[in-house]
């Protein structure tokens, strides 16, 4: 047999094996995704009956679910994730109520309205389980979405998939930063910065709030604390803007925590700070239900 012919056979065999292996491996790994204890795996597996759902970006992780449960006796599920914008949160929320018993309360950390939606790329891991996430992904990354249809392993290529593996047998609801601010970060001069929300995020917030009101689910729009020298200069105006556009009050705690020991950095509370913050919310009645459980 000539060298060219042998080479062609080898290349064809290679393509066939790559594609077959890609499909088989992806099928197995998608089963793994659904069985994990990671938050979105739980969401799409269904059967959850949380009373309180939390949505937000990395700052939403300050709503430490075990502490909410200890304080209120309500079952809590935090669905926040780094860089989750309200547009993505909207898709997650709609998917949640489709697959699970609707919650009694949804808490949304509204400064996530300044996030551009980088998480869309990561959430491709769940695109096969959610037409909404698939549509968001295809809208933002059209070429990668095509690649994902050709190679089934590609959508599993994400940080979320690593999280899926990490939380295979353990809950992810105790996920919160535990370190305290490094001394150099603590002593940084005051940062004069402004919250600049994206319009489509504000509209998504408004849609979410409208839907939740319509279904009789309580909504809490909250601004979690910022580090002492990092409170945005326009935070009060931002809260007013969101409240006006969304037609719901915003609970503003941007400057409520002053002890640097309560922060992991100038943007994120650590576990200790999270507990302090949740006690404030509890004290102010944020977790109090004003309506009976919704019926569906």
């Amino acid at each position: 047999m000539s060298d060219v012919r042998r080479a062609l056979i080898w290349l064809v065999a290679l393509v066939a094996i790559v594609i077959a292996g890609d499909h088989i491996l992806a099928w197995v790994l998608r089963k793994v995704v659904v069985r994990s204890q990671f938050r979105y795996s739980r969401l799409y597996r269904g059967g959850n009956s949380a009373d309180v759902i939390v949505l937000g970006d990395s700052r939403g992780l300050a709503f430490y679910a075990p502490a909410i449960e200890e304080l209120t006796g309500l079952r809590a599920l935090n669905l926040s994730y780094n860089s989750m914008s309200p547009r993505i949160a909207e898709a997650i929320l709609l998917d949640y109520v489709e697959h699970n018993r609707p919650p009694r309360m949804v808490v949304i950390e509204v400064t996530s309205a300044i996030v551009s939606g980088a998480l869309t790329s990561e959430l491709r891991t769940y695109a096969s389980l959610s037409p909404r996430l698939a549509a968001l992904y295809a809208e933002r990354y059209p070429i990668a979405a095509v690649a994902g249809r050709m190679f089934r392993l590609f959508p599993l290529n994400s940080e979320l998939f690593l999280a899926v593996l990490h939380y295979m047998r353990q809950t992810d609801q105790d996920w919160i930063r535990r370190e305290t601010m490094a001394p150099a970060v603590r002593t940084r001069p005051r940062n004069h910065w402004r919250l600049a929300p994206f319009l489509d995020n504000v509209e998504a917030l408004a849609r979410m709030v409208g839907l939740l009101h319509q279904r009789g689910i309580e909504v809490r729009l909250v601004i979690a604390p910022y580090g002492p020298s990092n409170v945005p200069v326009n935070v009060a105006g931002f809260a007013d803007l969101i409240a006006r556009r969304v037609q719901a009050p915003v609970w503003n705690y941007a400057g409520a925590v002053a002890d640097p020991e309560d922060f992991a950095d100038q943007v994120h509370l650590n576990e200790r700070g999270g507990r302090v913050f949740l006690r404030m919310l509890q004290r102010d009645g944020a977790f109090g239900m004003t309506r009976p459980p919704a019926r569906f």
Partner: protein, 475 residues
């Protein structure tokens, strides 16, 4: 054009089709035009520089060979070296030297005014200048015949797999291969693609996945605890290794598919038991270039112990400077020079102690490997840092053991992923060591098929597709 980009994946099959459809001089034209197109994709304006460099050394090579008078030949080689180093000096080091001179003047109380020029560094200039310079030096030394075919010589200079980031394939190796046609070979294709696949895994799955983890730690060392910074340094050691050895593997593999033999550029360097060994395993084409054209030209080890030490230090300092126009690179080179000198000073005593204590060879080797690796990592801090203060921030953060808790390290999952991939790669390297020792036969095409398929799956599921540049492009 980047090897890890869509344009390259489109370019390659078109190039291959024309390459295999032609022979003789027509094939050389295909290689030349394809290579120039590959380079022009980045910036077509610098093609003139590339062609100028080729033309100058082509002409000087012929003059050097034809000239009988030694004094004239010396003048010609000085002209060649001056032009090559002049190009490199202007494009790469002009602002660096001007800034350094201004800094020294300021320190002396003078305050000169100067204007830095906005100079774009032509991609690959450090590589092709070294390649052409070694050619003329070899012709001057009469160890290489001058190439009289301009088409062949220009193709030698611009051949795309090694043009922008090496390996630095010398004329003595490549020109004879360009003088004949290479028929298509099934074995070469399979072994070449195997190398290419391993290169993509190293670059796309390992180096590019590590890059953001390292970037954030060196950008804000004050915001990371000791463990986090230490992990960042270890990760950088593997980022630069996988990035550059990945590029080299792709380049060498592509050349092998086309019928060319470039040799190897990395040979499992982190298994080295001494710095002498490290430099025979790391960026082999550069280290052998520095040895042959700098270290030996300075006298090598012929002038006694202290002259040898001086030559080692000069070679490594200049080798450091070759990597970039910054004193941190010079410091990195200087550190390696010190390592080499120290090794020569205490190496024999260490061997005597090991023999006296009857330490098993395997234990001694493992200790030496770990020692060399960690000292190399120490050097990488200066190589990666953007300034000395940045390097000292990283090192002091580690030394102070500030907030030393492994639990507080960010991006654990990504770090874990990288660690697993690195462990698998090192496992393969260790296995290849044993195979080499046992002189095991080459892997069969079926096994290579499975390996390439596995590489494709690894890239699909663990690759980072952000089109990151190769680190060595900046050099």
């Amino acid at each position: 054009m980047l090897f890890n980009s869509l344009p390259f994946l489109a370019f390659l099959p078109i190039f291959m089709t024309f390459y295999w459809a032609t022979s003789g001089r027509a094939r050389l034209w295909v290689m030349l035009v394809g290579s120039l197109f590959f380079y022009a994709w980045w910036d077509w304006r610098f093609l003139s520089l590339l062609l100028f460099s080729s033309l100058v050394d082509y002409s000087l090579g012929i003059l050097l060979e034809d000239e009988r008078h030694e004094a004239m030949r010396r003048r010609l080689i000085v002209i060649s070296v001056a032009i090559n180093l002049g190009l490199l000096g202007f494009f790469k080091y002009f602002n660096f030297f001007v800034q350094s001179a201004a800094d020294v003047s300021s320190a002396l109380g003078l305050h000169p005014t100067y204007n830095a020029l906005k100079i774009v560094l032509p991609v690959g200039i450090s590589f092709y200048v070294f390649k052409t310079m070694s050619y003329t030096i070899d012709v001057y030394r009469r160890t290489q015949k001058a190439e009289r075919d301009l088409l062949r010589f220009t193709t030698f200079v611009v051949f795309f797999p090694e043009l922008v980031a090496g390996p630095i394939v010398r004329a003595s190796r490549l020109l004879p291969q360009l003088a004949r046609d290479h028929p298509f070979s099934y074995e070469r294709m399979v072994s070449g693609l195997t190398l290419v696949a391993s290169g993509y895994v190293r670059k796309v799955a390992i180096a590019d996945s590590i890059a953001p983890l390292v970037d954030i730690r060196f950008a804000h060392p004050e915001a990371h605890n000791a463990w986090s910074l230490l992990i960042g340094v270890y990760l950088y050691a593997f980022q630069i290794y996988c990035d550059f050895s990945g590029y080299s593997n792709i380049a060498i593999g592509l050349a092998r598919v086309l019928g060319f033999d470039f040799g190897i550029n990395f040979d499992r360097p982190y298994f080295s038991r001494s710095f002498g060994e490290f430099w025979t395993r790391w960026h082999i084409s550069l280290s052998s270039w520095l040895r042959d054209y700098l270290y030996i030209s300075l006298g090598g080890n012929r002038g006694g112990t202290w002259r040898t030490f001086r030559n080692l230090m000069v070679t490594m300092l200049l080798g450091g400077l070759w990597h970039g126009a910054s004193w941190t690179f010079v410091a990195w080179g200087g550190l390696h020079g010190l390592y080499l000198v120290t090794q020569r000073l205490i190496g024999p005593a260490y061997q005597r102690v090991i023999r006296a204590l009857r330490v098993p060879t395997v234990v001694s080797n493992a200790f030496l490997m770990l020692l060399v690796f960690h000292l190399t990592c120490f050097g990488w801090v200066f190589f990666r840092a953007h300034s000395f203060s940045n390097a000292f921030d990283v090192l002091s953060g580690i030394a102070a053991m500030r907030g030393a808790s492994l639990a507080d390290v960010d991006n654990k999952w990504r770090i874990l992923k990288c660690a697993v991939l690195i462990a698998v790669m090192l496992g393969f390297e260790a296995a290849s060591f044993l195979r080499d020792r046992q002189r095991a036969p080459e892997f069969s095409p079926a096994l290579r098929l499975a390996f390439v398929a596995a590489c494709a799956w690894v890239v699909l599921i663990f690759g980072t597709f952000s089109g990151n540049n190769f680190i060595y492009f900046q050099f």
